[in-house]
Symmetry: C2
Subunit: 234 residues, 2 copies
DNA sequence: TAGAGATTCGAACGAACGTTCGGTAACCTC
DNA sequence: GAGGTTACCGAACGTTCGTTCGAATCTCTA
């Protein structure tokens, strides 16, 4: 799995060099070259720093220190700080979607598939806390081209969840707003980075079950309660 | 309602000046002086800018431009950029808690009180979107003294919500984790700033009712569903 | 209306920022 | 082991940052 953008950048002719690609390839496939592996480590360090200080608050010098590489040396691996954030977000998002689609193949039951969605999200979230915080916390940071691309992936993820919920609604003959349900669910599961403490809180699997129960009971049960008016209408 | 910290700063001897307070007071009470009113407007402009660009990404020059005041002039009203964020967060938090406690006096019914909590939160949230985004998005930005003070108010707010839910649980004889329920609820209602569009989405009251229903059904209904194992255990 | 304090400003400070450049060392291939 | 590419670095560039300072103006009271 090569992290970099294959079409536009190859090891051997990596960044601003427009001097003809001398591609380090085997057969047709770009390999996990040393370049790729080093870049992956840099992205990991960068995610930790962006997580801790925020994108704007973190400096390239912080990353240089954490990665044990000179400031100038970093720019061999990506073309700008913005590009760095883009690479982190894209890789994180694509991976979580990829894993989800793999797991969704395991069930055809609508409710079960929603549970798979939640469990996949939380599992990846808690195993990659830093990157996932960067993904959710800095989701308006990127602008224009790179921002648009990330936003497109986000819509894709949203759409998957919406489809799962509407499938459930159809199957059980329920009535609820898909949009509201998706966004309510996203709120619950994305908010976790603000509070989860592995020493105190449940692990991913247990948390996923609890949150699935909470959410699904809320969605599945008929709307029996009517709002009591606190004041008599005047 | 004076915005500033009365004990440490008064109009007339406002900031770095330690030259003896000549307090502009009437009777015992500090008034909404011109100083207070101008400060309130600055906080409003600052909230908009912090909301748009983030705390770190926003510059004092941005604020100077938006407020139509010189860069140096700003420092007559607060002592630093960090103080500015602190004043915004403190005022916002204190106001939402104050209003909540006022409204909670109107009902003794446990479920109704939870609904009041949600409605109050969403009402204030949507009416003060910028300040509330700054409150939630920059909640780890402040450190040390000022950060500790804000975190204390946040715990207070958390505790109010937790007590409401445990009151509900006791009254209805239910079983659920209060912590998980509070944080799940907070996720749903705080996440809103990332998606709410007033031209498309429900208004505060309707949204509060929908979210209350979703959440309360999830909490009130018995845990009937057992997790179906997707794979037979191997 | 004189004077004291509140308010505002232009200009500048040092520090930190993202990025670039020319060069050196390490590596791989033949 | 020569030659070309990859990997990396020290030093610096130009810009922007938060903040300060002394002076000018405005406002209110006595």
């Amino acid at each position: 799995m090569a992290l970099q953008n294959v079409e536009t950048r190859l090891p051997g002719a990596p960044l601003n060099g427009r001097k003809g690609r001398t591609a380090l390839q085997r057969g047709e496939e770009v390999m996990d070259s040393r370049f790729d592996r080093r870049l992956a480590k840099l992205l990991h360090h960068a995610a930790q720093i962006f997580c801790e200080k925020g994108y704007e608050g973190a400096s390239m010098r912080d990353l240089s220190r954490a990665a044990g590489m000179s400031l100038a040396g970093l720019y061999h691996y990506f073309e700008s700080k913005e590009d760095l954030l883009y690479l982190i977000q894209k890789h994180t998002f694509r991976t979580i979607i990829e894993r989800l689609q793999e797991k969704l193949k395991e069930s055809k039951d609508a409710e079960e598939r929603v549970r798979i969605f939640i469990e996949n999200h939380l599992e990846y979230f808690l195993a990659n806390k830093e990157a996932m915080k960067v993904l959710t916390h800095e989701d308006e940071t990127l602008k224009n081209g790179r921002g648009g691309e990330i936003r497109a992936i986000k819509r894709e993820y949203y759409k998957i969840c919406l489809d799962l919920l509407e499938e459930l609604r159809r199957e059980k003959g329920l009535q609820f707003s898909g949009r509201l349900a998706v966004l309510g669910l996203f709120g619950m599961i994305n908010w976790i980075y603000t509070w989860h403490n592995p020493r105190v809180d449940l692990d991913a699997g247990e948390l996923a079950e609890e949150m699935s129960n909470l959410f699904l009971r809320g969605v599945l049960n008929p709307a029996k309660t009517k709002r009591k008016s606190a004041k008599a209408d005047a």
